[in-house]
Chain length 463, copies 2
Amino acid sequence: MFSVDTYQRRRATLRHQVKNGVLLFLGNIDNPINFEHNTYPFRQDSTFLYYFGIQQAGLAALIDLDEQRTIVFGDELTMDQIVWMGRQETLREKCAGAGVGEVLPFGLLTTYLSEAVNKGRVIHYLPPYQAYNKILLHELLKQPITSLTGSVSFIEAVVAQRSIKEEQELEEIEKAVEVSVEMHLLALRLARPGMREREITNAIQHFAADRGCPLSYPPIVTVHGEILHNAYQQNHLREGQLLLNDSGAETALGYAADLTRTFPVSKRFTSRQREIYDIVHMAFQRANSLLRPGIPFKEVHLHACESLVEGLISIGLMKGDPKEAVSHHAHTLFFQCGLGHMMGLDVHDMEDLGEQYVGYTSDEPKDTATFGLKSLRLGRNLQTGFVLTVEPGIYFIPELIDMWQSEHKLQEFINYDKLRDYRDFGGVRIEDNFVITDDGSRRLGPELIHTADDIEHYKAQHA
Amino acid sequence: MFSVDTYQRRRATLRHQVKNGVLLFLGNIDNPINFEHNTYPFRQDSTFLYYFGIQQAGLAALIDLDEQRTIVFGDELTMDQIVWMGRQETLREKCAGAGVGEVLPFGLLTTYLSEAVNKGRVIHYLPPYQAYNKILLHELLKQPITSLTGSVSFIEAVVAQRSIKEEQELEEIEKAVEVSVEMHLLALRLARPGMREREITNAIQHFAADRGCPLSYPPIVTVHGEILHNAYQQNHLREGQLLLNDSGAETALGYAADLTRTFPVSKRFTSRQREIYDIVHMAFQRANSLLRPGIPFKEVHLHACESLVEGLISIGLMKGDPKEAVSHHAHTLFFQCGLGHMMGLDVHDMEDLGEQYVGYTSDEPKDTATFGLKSLRLGRNLQTGFVLTVEPGIYFIPELIDMWQSEHKLQEFINYDKLRDYRDFGGVRIEDNFVITDDGSRRLGPELIHTADDIEHYKAQHA
């Protein structure tokens, strides 16, 4: 946990933002795998972590703005549970560490909220993403499950606060990046023809776990880099292929990192692979150079797209004017997704609270219709203290190429003939994590090698 | 998956048992970690696996006994999803592998069930353990969430069928045991003073993952073997301590193993550790020798308890007549839990369906009041084809000893004075998996060393 005044200060800021009513925070429980008591590793809800820091299943908390009380609801271990699970720090002790003196049995939450509702007071809550918290809210608030969309003023206050990272949060994220950099170097050293993708995943997971870090999301480790969310990782690595590794660690306090590198299974890139890699790398650098307070991230995204198009024109896969190509979204045949997203206690930070609040504003809402832009999670003006990923890529997706070609789509910008040779190329992505600073941005954590030369050099050294 | 006729045959057997109404099977979805799309590794519901074998999130199935239809409800990937997740075997293809020709979009499940309900037909369902399936059932059946306890005739038919393992299921369980035995040998080789418990867990998890096996439950790897469900694994192993390793793998088809060994961190047991170990080992062998069709497992449990008491008397920790001590539950100061449980597609097989159906019968219900027996998951008469664990142990729990001693509890059987020296001893458990055969039982999978001599010998060889 951070220091006790961290949590007190964060809650004080929040209280000033929302002003009245009751702010309700629901923690997570242990999620069942295949029966109630066989459970996945526990992960506390990130907003609960942010304001209370207590990593224990089965808690709720509230800040009563009208009556100026802050209460954690949860149950101490019974003697039976101590026999089974061992003596542990009590809940009361944990709450003291978060600066909360009032601890009540979980069962009293219903009573407290019913009384508040009866007095005509507003219960503010956040959009539930765990089904058990939907049921709990349904029971607490007597509302249909489908109508539990959250309280906008509460959501906006939390997003405003969590978006600007404190110095100690940046340090945590840098710790996460540090472990992740080591994971990526390990993958670079391990990868060789004949291995299965899954073996790389298992090794980096083991490495992170030994450092006390779970992974911040299910890693994508694949020779099919063009499959953006590839869960199947049974392929054998083959000579001449590229391996894409998108993986990151999470610190004990819950802060995420999210890095991607793409590198040859064998020692060297082929000349074609290096061409595509360098194009992605150029776009990556272009994007990074633009990061600064005030610029809309959507603009950074479009600049990166233009850089990709310039590169693709230079090798004959695209044609025409780069700006015009981007304005027609012709780049989305190769770069179907967004340039990046906010990152913090969640790898897609605050995704549970709603992209319309986190990545966009009501003045500049998301384009939810256009292929490409509809997958851009972050579009708003950047501010000092935002932490985000930059992750351009080029992906040759056979199904998409076939579809576009059959429609002769944007053929003024795409050389479909030449593209035939790249059908089985796969995909390349490069991704790092940045914090926006007053005068630009800073890469978080130690630098992980990212030029084609450096990668080949590292592979040669560790062959 | 098993062969198509496996699933057809299993469903045919079930149809004959329940006879009319609609049998509803809800599959699992991807459980969220900290936001909806950041998810834990998928695990299909075990009963769904048993009758349909399809490992895909977001499915339901039904067997309409009145109209003689078997339908899987689920959605094929959209083009957008193929772009993101890659082309995969279609749902229709997977269903063909389970012998199901009728596949409908998931959204039609509500329609189908409403029509069935309107016709006055019974919808049979199993007790939901996933909150999202509670919500789904609540919406489908228009019943309050708290009243969704399941259909007894359906539960009983499933339990009767899943309790008797087929030959091919035994082969799967033996594969799980085989990987688990290797995990345990790895732990024996790795453990040394200075390591943390968690590092052993990480290494065996990595080992299993490389063989395509998740773990069948969160491993308990601890120098505090007396803590029965120990999640905290940050202790450093020290010279002279015992390490308890309770862990098992699950095969790709979902079958579990569940093994425990307790061994010295350093090369040799102390003489006191060996005494306790040998007592547990005697009880383990006594229990195994009694396994046969027709014997109530509760009786096997009580024989094992008696064996433990005999041993504890021999070293002066208990006194009096062993049988009498057991009848007064005096052994529960040292052995607080049950001797074993059913095992199969779940490590506690079918625990979601209800212990009263799986481990007990209405004629011989569970003793839910008595400390010790209330934790015995299996009490009923054994039958050929049952698969179960045998896992006696001795646990010195300081909190429990203090409580009993302060009450002078059962002091005619307990030497509290002598016990003082064992306060910090920890705990010992030995656990293997057995199938009940016509003439007794058979240990499943390759034998894992279990005598104190063998363990010391193995440690010496791999030092």
